[in-house]
């Protein structure tokens, strides 16, 4: 992230962290005290997370105050800046990576055959990013064949090594 945008990021993140700190403290206070079984008051479940919540809140508050002095509340958002932001190639690649990997990790693995899900993940990843990087449109056919081959090999080898060599049950 560019350093000139850091105060804005600090402003937003510190507010989120302060809210998180408060949430931790509130939740810790709601935890049972086990008075009925004669538990020591210092052994209650909420004491350690409660203290941590307070510390997180205080540290985030300092970051928040500092972001105010650096005018982090001035986002300077307008149509053009938002358009430029969402058109950045690096942002698109980042979001695409997170999206594909999350779909594979959370949705595909465990709900379908491991070899199949891994094959499709590797294939889609290779196609999307290599097509994005492709210098020569005519080479896309070759890229597709190589991608299928790599996807088969990765799914097969990784699955087999973990299942039969390291005796790990596949998801």
């Amino acid at each position: 992230m560019k350093q000139e945008n850091m105060p804005k990021a600090d402003f937003v993140v510190s507010i989120l962290m302060m809210c998180f700190g408060v949430w931790i403290v509130v939740h810790s206070l709601q935890m049972p005290r086990f008075k009925e079984v004669g538990a020591n008051p210092f052994s209650v479940p909420g004491i350690v997370p409660g203290i941590l919540g307070i510390v997180i809140f205080i540290l985030s508050l300092v970051v928040f105050m500092r972001s105010l002095t650096r005018k982090g509340y001035r986002f300077g958002l307008n149509r053009q800046t938002l358009k430029n932001f969402f058109h950045e190639t690096s942002l698109q690649r980042m979001l695409l990576t997170i999206f594909i990997c999350t779909i594979y990790g959370i949705l595909m693995v465990g709900s379908m055959n491991y070899y199949l899900s891994t094959f499709f993940f590797v294939l889609v990843f290779l196609i999307l990013f290599q097509f994005l990087d492709a210098e020569n449109v005519n080479a896309r056919g070759k890229l597709l064949i190589l991608s299928v081959l790599q996807a088969v090999l990765v799914a097969g080898i990784v699955g087999a090594v973990f299942r039969y060599l390291f005796l790990v049950d596949l998801p």
Binding site: H27, F42, S43, V44, I47, L96, I98, T102, V109, F166
Partner: protein
């Protein structure tokens, strides 16, 4: 000391003679570590974490040997991409790129790789000597630690780690650390078996396992970062003589020893890691060098001290792992988790329960170091081709390994979710300049802090003075508070005032009377 030497010799004999298969493990794991280290996007932490899952069903000594070799190899391996691509393969090699890449641009890539390999070897040797010497001492000293001392040690670990990994903004380091401590409280608490922050989900009541969180924070986050970046260009040109000349090394013997000592010491500081060790060694060498103007332009000394510093930190990071069960770095944290998985219990009692294990680890580091030196100088040309693999081809393979690696530890799909969440969190934390190392250290130290804080509160009945009663607690608490306040403006102003006052007094005394 003689007992220690005998245990070390027995361990070495066992690895080399009684079980020759171990030599194959050493060579294979070290070579794999070098490859993992040299590929941007694969960090030492991720390599050790993934290897932990692969060695899950092996004997403890074989498994730990493979992990140590992977660790040593990966920290060294990152120097390749640092020299040839100007991109460190692991964060530990960032200082290596400063002088390594200019040397490669001058057509001296082979020489640079030879110097880096020798520096790594010498650093590792210095580190393992200090590991053998200090671990029993600290382990025996730590037997005096009680709840209060462990509580302060956990807090000190977070504060110093936050301080050193976020030098521009330690506040963010501390927030990351305390966030990690909070993550460790998720799940069943130790005194009443109450399920904290589980919201009725069975998986959450088991807590957040360290390895999926680390694979996510260091692995998946790195994949996102790598895929975001433009293409990499390898320095072209023939790699000439690799084996370094004796005079290129012997000329800087003072810097080598200093970097080895500094690197080991910095590596032993909880959670700080090899990258800080490398930079600290580099800065110290630059400030005291007669050739300071060459630093940053292809200085042999600069390259040498960077690699000596980062590899000596590997052994340094294992000192607190073995003696206190507190990791000195992120890969050391995974090593610690792996030791527990295999039934070894590092910590203050190790010198009573498993004293020979300490010297087995020293023997492992020695074997890994020798293998790294031999493989590092002999397998240069073929391995350079590995750097040319396109990231779009490599990263999906890495992510597949991250997924199966996270799943394999406890056979829980939930752990894959943890890996993904910590990966996304780790990426955005990095973007916002929040360091990840304190977060991970917090997850490890959270259990120590939780148990010992409650125990201390029960013993003291909430009286805060009890926390400063013993001399050890007082010292650790004072150092913690000093570290905390040292970054505040008024402390810096006070320090400048005192320094100026001393300077003025010295100047006045040195002036001759009129």
């Amino acid at each position: 000391m003689i007992d220690g030497f005998l245990m070390f010799s027995k361990a070495l004999w066992g690895f080399l003679v009684q079980n020759p298969v171990m030599i194959l493990y050493v060579l294979g794991a070290t070579q794999l570590g070098i490859i993992v280290g040299m590929l941007p996007g694969l960090t030492a932490t991720m390599g050790v974490a993934l290897m932990t899952t692969l060695t899950f069903k092996m004997e403890p000594d074989s498994a730990v040997l493979i992990l140590v070799c992977m660790y040593v190899g990966a920290i060294y391996g990152g120097s390749r991409s640092a020299i040839l691509l100007n991109i460190p393969g692991t964060p530990a090699n960032a200082a290596t790129a400063v002088d390594g890449y200019p040397l490669a641009r001058q057509g001296l890539a082979g020489k640079a790789i030879g110097i880096a390999t020798t520096g790594s070897f010498l650093g590792s040797v210095i580190g393992l000597l200090l590991l053998a010497f200090f671990t029993p001492l600290i382990g025996n000293f730590a037997l005096k630690f009680k709840s209060f001392e462990f509580f302060w040690l956990a807090i000190f670990g977070i504060v110093i780690c936050g301080n050193l990994t976020a030098p521009k903004d330690p506040l963010k380091g501390w927030i990351a650390g305390f966030l990690g401590l909070f993550v460790a409280t998720i799940g069943m608490e130790p005194y009443h078996a109450y399920q904290r922050f589980s919201f009725g989900y069975m998986d959450l009541s088991g807590g957040i396992h360290l390895i999926p969180a680390m694979v996510g924070a260091f692995g998946f986050a790195e994949i996102i970062t790598v895929m975001k970046q433009p293409k990499l260009e390898v320095v072209k040109g023939k790699i000439e003589r690799i084996f370094p000349r004796y005079r290129d090394i012997s000329k800087y013997w003072r810097s080598i020893i200093r970097s080895g000592l500094v690197g080991t010491f910095v590596g032993a500081i909880p959670g700080v890691g090899e990258d800080i060790a490398a930079w600290t060694s580099y800065d110290l060498a630059k400030n005291s060098s007669k050739e300071a103007d060459k630093f940053g332009k292809g200085s042999i000394e600069g390259l040498l001290v960077a690699e000596t510093g980062n590899n000596s930190a590997v052994a340094g990071a294992m000192i607190p792992v073995l003696s206190l069960a507190i990791p000195g770095s992120a890969p050391a944290a995974v090593l610690l988790a792996a030791m527990f998985i295999h039934g070894v219990r590092p910590g203050p009692l190790i010198m009573i329960e498993f004293p020979e294990f300490v010297y087995q680890v020293v023997a492992m580091v020695l074997l890994a170091t020798v293998a790294m030196f031999v493989l590092g100088l002999s397998m240069v040309r073929p391995l350079v081709k590995v750097l040319a693999i396109r990231r779009a081809r490599l990263m999906p393979v890495v992510f597949v390994l991250c997924v199966i690696g996270s799943y394999a530890i406890q056979a829980r799909l939930f752990d894959i979710g943890v890996m993904v969440v910590f990966g996304i969190l780790g990426y955005f934390m990095r973007e916002m300049d929040y360091p990840i190392a304190p977060l991970v250290l917090g997850i490890i130290l959270g259990t120590i802090l939780d148990k010992n804080l409650i125990r201390s509160l029960i013993i003291s009945e909430g009286n805060p003075l009890f926390f400063l009663q013993s001399p050890i607690s007082l010292i650790i608490a004072s150092v913690t508070l000093l570290t905390f306040f040292s970054r505040t403006r008024w402390f810096q102003a006070l320090k400048s005032k005192i320094r100026d006052s001393i300077k003025n007094k010295i100047v006045r005394r040195s002036k001759p009377p009129r």
